[in-house]
Symmetry: C2
Subunit: 342 residues, 2 copies
DNA sequence: GAAAAATTCTTAAACGTTTAAGTTTGTTTT
DNA sequence: AAAACAAACTTAAACGTTTAAGAATTTTTC
């Protein structure tokens, strides 16, 4: 069933059929109604989306791009919340949601950029080919959790938030902290940071958070040497369990574990629970993000609350209203949420 | 940058450029290499995906359709795992993942069907327009968690699994059960089922599970009257908290709560914890699905394990290999996983 | 060394729409 | 009643590709 064949069947021009679907004011009510009912009978459910997109140069879809494989979009609680926010706004505005895998391989057939009218790019994309191509399209691009040149962005103050939660911890008496960092360095390995690994300059969320922790430690006169900083290659419960297991085998035990995400922090809580390490008495644990599970887990988790859903909503709104008022960089607030784990 | 303009710049035909990208054997190595490097210089990253799709009648994307708004795809742990499995397989096979909102409104511009080469449809779609349109495309369709005519499907034996877990509960001494059901009836209300509501015949996962519970009760000589069966309109922690709160206010307290999902069961555990009701001593709680949180929560949750990721993988594989061996209905195994909550 | 076959490239028609511009008919204005 | 306008519909070109069929050249075969 094509528009053409419908036109033939009804003995009108294709333009008229098209108008019946797209521009009701271009034909008489009577004819339009006749066309629409006839289309239903014929099983024609409206113009082919691909052809429509090609001709109009508009797809009514927004592309979302993470730097991870697709599976991550559904696995990570923060990413999920973020996408939930996006989906909400897009659905209200009758846009489709196109998930682009940032792990797109080099030789991937190109041109995917053409499938979306705008892009939301989440998380640093240092060397990403696809990101560069997306920029070249000239279509609206909003970056999230990182900044790129003058492009509009939605972000939080990672440094300040990290500083605050660490400051709070050190103020409540912690003196032997361990930091569990995510993707601090470019290695698949789990474990301590080695001396000079950290010094290749690289901007990332993790770096900013780490700097917050370090400065808070300095401020409080707490010793936080490099060998107390651990690296996990991905924000993932399994890996975090492994890391937590090693960290909680240290002697003497640290008196607090500062995690760069709640996913990691819950893993620490799990291991602590198994080892009968009392939280918060023996060990304080804090996370980052405030994922839903953080308030449900026992002991509930002290963390930095950021409204990931709102982040998604905001990003979606920005990319939709290409207007200049949306061309700004937004910094969303965060909040220290103290619960039982500290 | 279009293929045409590149062809002009290099003084060859469009066919040759196209072949350079799609059929390397159709031109000389030398020319191909020259074209590709030149394309990079010109900033042409490959054929426009829309035009390509239109011409080839193939999009290299698979559509996934839930009967819920898009946000649900990212919110619900089971849906997320399912999608994770799909994403994994699709990525391996270099297919795109297109999320179709089942809540698509009537007057939505049609033709979305054309954007995918095949469809995975999750959860019953009784009257869904979009589902019918999808079927009409004649493209491969795989249904999940429900069956439709002869279409291939991936499913579990909901009745049997439900029977088993209830049977286990009643065998361990429970005599005053409450069932927390999801979407048992067509109402947004939370609360007890009223007499005849249940009798409008309707096939659904919930119904099958309920039947399993009921038959197990009958088998064990346990009384499970209609007024002990509660309805929650959506599988959602918030709503479940409300329902749980009401259920745990009953006097006398039930001695077990049988939940149709782990999301609901965790809510019951949360409320029980707040009310200082001891699980499993005073109250046993069981769920369904075995979501990741089920093993992490304390007390950990007794539930029916189903491998949702595998379900996704299976569905994706089926829809990709349109072959006849994939035209079968698959029943994945489930397993009773006993943990601390019972 | 001529016929056959293979290689390399081109021509041109499709894919299913949208839309500016044009045509026809009917309605208003003066 | 002619001129101007509005309404309803049609014509035809374009959107950016792919691909079957053909043309030109080179290589193989006997």
């Amino acid at each position: 069933m094509t528009l053409k064949s419908v036109a033939a069947a009804l003995n009108v021009s294709t333009a008229t059929i098209s108008n019946a679907f797209n521009r009701p004011d271009q034909l008489s009510q009577a004819l339009r109604r006749k066309i629409l009912t006839e289309c239903k009978k014929l099983g024609y459910h409206g113009p082919n989306a691909t052809a429509r997109t090609l001709r109009r140069g508009q797809s009514d879809a927004i592309g979302v791009m993470l730097s991870d494989p697709l599976a991550y979009y559904f696995t990570d609680p923060v990413a999920s919340q973020f996408l939930t926010g996006i989906a909400e706004v897009l659905e209200q505005n009758r846009k489709q949601l196109l998930l682009l895998s940032g792990a797109e391989s080099e030789d991937r057939k190109g041109g995917i950029e053409s499938l979306a009218d705008g892009f939301i790019v989440y998380g640093s994309q240092d060397e990403n080919q696809l990101f560069m191509r997306v920029l070249e399209t000239g279509k609206p691009v909003v970056t999230v959790d990182f900044d790129y040149k003058d492009y509009p962005s939605v972000n939080i103050d990672n440094y300040q938030a990290a500083f605050n939660i660490a400051h709070y911890l050190f103020n409540s008496g912690c003196t032997r902290p361990v930091v569990l960092g995510i993707r601090l360095i470019d290695s698949k390995r789990i474990g301590r940071i080695v001396e000079d690994e950290l010094f290749e300059e690289r901007e990332s969320i993790s770096r900013r958070r780490l700097n917050g922790y370090l400065d808070a430690a300095k401020d409080a006169g707490v010793d936080l040497p490099l060998q107390q900083i651990w690296h996990i290659p991905q924000n993932n419960h399994q890996l975090a369990l492994q890391a937590a297991s090693e960290v909680l085998s240290m002697y003497p035990l640290p008196d607090c574990v500062i995690c760069m995400s709640d996913v990691v922090a819950t893993a620490v809580l799990n291991v602590a629970h198994d080892r009968k390490i009392r939280v918060p008495d023996q060990l304080k644990v804090v996370g980052f993000d405030d994922i839903p599970e953080a308030s449900r887990i026992s002991p509930s988790l002290t963390t930095v609350s950021q409204h990931s859903i709102e982040k998604g909503r905001m990003a979606a709104k920005k990319v939709l209203s290409g207007g200049p008022q949306a061309k700004t960089k937004t910094l969303l607030p965060t909040q220290l949420t103290v619960r039982q784990s500290s």
